[in-house]
């Protein structure tokens, strides 16, 4: 019962947030200069035809009317059709205006559903790598606050956070793929292609995890129940792994919720560098091609994902530590 009320409240708040996001992006895209119809029809199309297509698609109506129509579709699960991508996935944009093959346009929802699992795979793998890097460094630093492992954690996280992801991607691709030929880098033909992008992403996430872990482990280790555990005769390993780590994992969870947008930003750039066919590459292409429905769809889906992830994070945090309130 308790949990149902919590879910209802959070989902309602989330719906408001998603609505605001879509209104924001929708207005923004209509206000900025650049006519998408010009790009769809091609540079050679006559002005009259452009106007006709635009009117047919309802792009000359007032913004609030367009938005009303759009949000009506979204509520029914229809995110609209891409402006430039054909359904068969072949040529994209810039074709001549009287090309008949471009009648079938891809559904935004299908485009997103096709690429999202790829991005999810990349993100999960990166999160795994990041934990493998960050947990030892962070916990060790937290166990000796002020000592050299703590300093080490500070230096390493300062260095990691200073590595621009696109540069690191290029350097690692040059060293690991070209010079040492350890793993493939560009494109996607199997799981191995996800390793290098995930590694770069992991190094981008790791400093935040390290910093949070160091602080929270140091905080937990200074508390009463740790001293009491020592009196109870528990070994050091038991104290650290069963008591301290469990309690310091909650700030870590919250961090994942808050840093979601940063993770997504990283995904975007990294997918672009490695030509990895996920949501990020889709977004960049959509922006470059002024594919308004696709940009809107991605914004809505990511906002919804943000809301859901934060709800899940809060739920998991309460199961780890029942004292927390919703």
């Amino acid at each position: 019962m308790f949990i149902l009320r919590f879910l209802a409240r959070r989902l309602f708040q989330g719906a408001i947030i998603v609505f605001l996001v879509s209104a924001l992006i929708f207005t923004l895209l209509r206000v900025v200069p650049g006519d998408p119809v010009r790009l769809m029809a091609g540079g050679m199309a006559p002005e009259a035809l452009i106007e006709q297509i635009a009117t047919d698609m309802g792009l000359r109506d007032p913004i609030w009317q367009q938005f009303g129509r759009y949000i009506g579709g979204v509520v029914q699960g229809d995110l609209g059709q891409s402006f430039v991508r054909p359904a068969n996935g072949a040529a994209v944009g810039g074709a001549s205006f009287d090309d008949t093959t471009r009648s079938e346009r891809a559904e935004v929802l299908t485009l997103i559903a096709d690429t999202a699992p790829m991005t999810l795979q990349l993100a999960l793998l990166a999160m795994g790598f990041a934990l493998v890097i960050a947990v030892p460094i962070g916990v060790w630093g937290g166990l000796r606050p002020g000592g050299w492992p703590d300093r080490m954690a500070l230096y390493l996280s300062s260095l990691f956070v200073s590595l621009p992801n696109f540069w690191l991607g290029i350097v690692l691709a040059l060293v690991l793929s070209v010079k040492l030929q350890l793993m493939p880098a560009i494109g996607y033909k199997g799981f191995a292609y996800a390793i290098l992008p995930a590694l770069v992403l992991a190094i981008e996430i790791a400093p935040f995890l390290i910093r949070t872990l160091t602080v929270s482990v140091a905080g937990v280790m200074g508390q009463n129940f740790i001293d009491i555990a020592r009196v109870r005769g528990l070994t050091r390993d038991q104290i650290v792994f069963r008591h301290a780590l469990k309690n310091s994992s909650i700030p870590l969870l919250n961090l994942i919720g808050v840093q979601f947008s940063m993770l997504l930003g990283g995904v975007l750039v990294i997918e672009f560098i490695f030509d990895y066919p996920g949501l990020g590459l889709l977004t960049i292409n959509a922006v470059m091609q002024r594919d308004f429905p696709l940009i809107q769809g991605i914004a809505i889906v990511t906002a919804a994902a943000f809301v859901l992830i934060n709800i899940v994070v809060d739920l998991v945090a309460t199961t780890i530590d029942p004292r927390l309130e919703y």
Binding site: I17, L20, G34, L154, S162, L268, V269, T283, I295
Partner: protein, 303 residues
Amino acid sequence: MSSIDITAAPAEPLRERKVSARIWRLAFASIEFRIGLAVLVLLIAAAVLYPSLSGIDPVKMNIKAKLTPPLFMGEGWAWSHPLGTDQLGRDMLVRALVGLRYSLLIGVSTTVLMLLVGALVGLFAGYFGGRTDMVLMRLTDAQLSIPMIILAITILGVSRPTIPSIILVLGLAGWPVYARVMRSTAMSERKKEYVRGAMVLGATDWRIMFALILPLVLPPMAFVAVLDIARMMIFESVLGFLGLGVQPPTPTFGNIIADGRKYLMNAWWIATMPGVFMVLVLTSINLMGASLERARNAIYGGA
């Protein structure tokens, strides 16, 4: 926190009056801060002086000297081009240093902008509370849930990127975090004695907000914002890399690296050298920022 200063002053005469001065002193005592400061000052001095002293134009092409490798690396290196030249014979060191100028300019002004916007929104939301708070905070949540980079590339991708528009977009995309922090501090400050006292004395809301609360809570926030300068510099270079930053021929870290990527196989230094520069600058800023943050936390008792 701050009201303690006045009451505790007689007990500890050595204690300085201003919190920010104590944070500076504590941070300056750490070795990381000094190293970071030294490296940063050196690089900024180089960025300011070297391009004009050496007289090398960052956009002047010299096809005869194209693809010169850096010192001691490969054949045909020259003292006149310590970091080598690119595919059009432009000197890499000067280009990287000019790129550093733009990067710092955009990083610092963006951070200042988002600090100001965030602090104002948070101050109003936290001070007035009620309906103002709800509207402002829901807006903040909405903006926080759009990944900043999608917002930035959407706006810059469909309009022409210029330096003011980049600063504006990054600044407006980054303020929500500050608004949240500011809101919670403003809410707790509002209940304190000195604010209530000022209210009794008949001070207006504006006077309390801008003359009493803001000068007190802004400096600690500004110290942590140093870390954001580095983050914004990375952001700027990402935009440049995607072709949405400052436009060529003006060199920036992002567009040099994007350019150099095409020549990675036969001239690795074009893409990697500016990056090394960037990592040096960013690490020094981050070291300074991290020690400032630690000093602040030590003084505020780990907030």
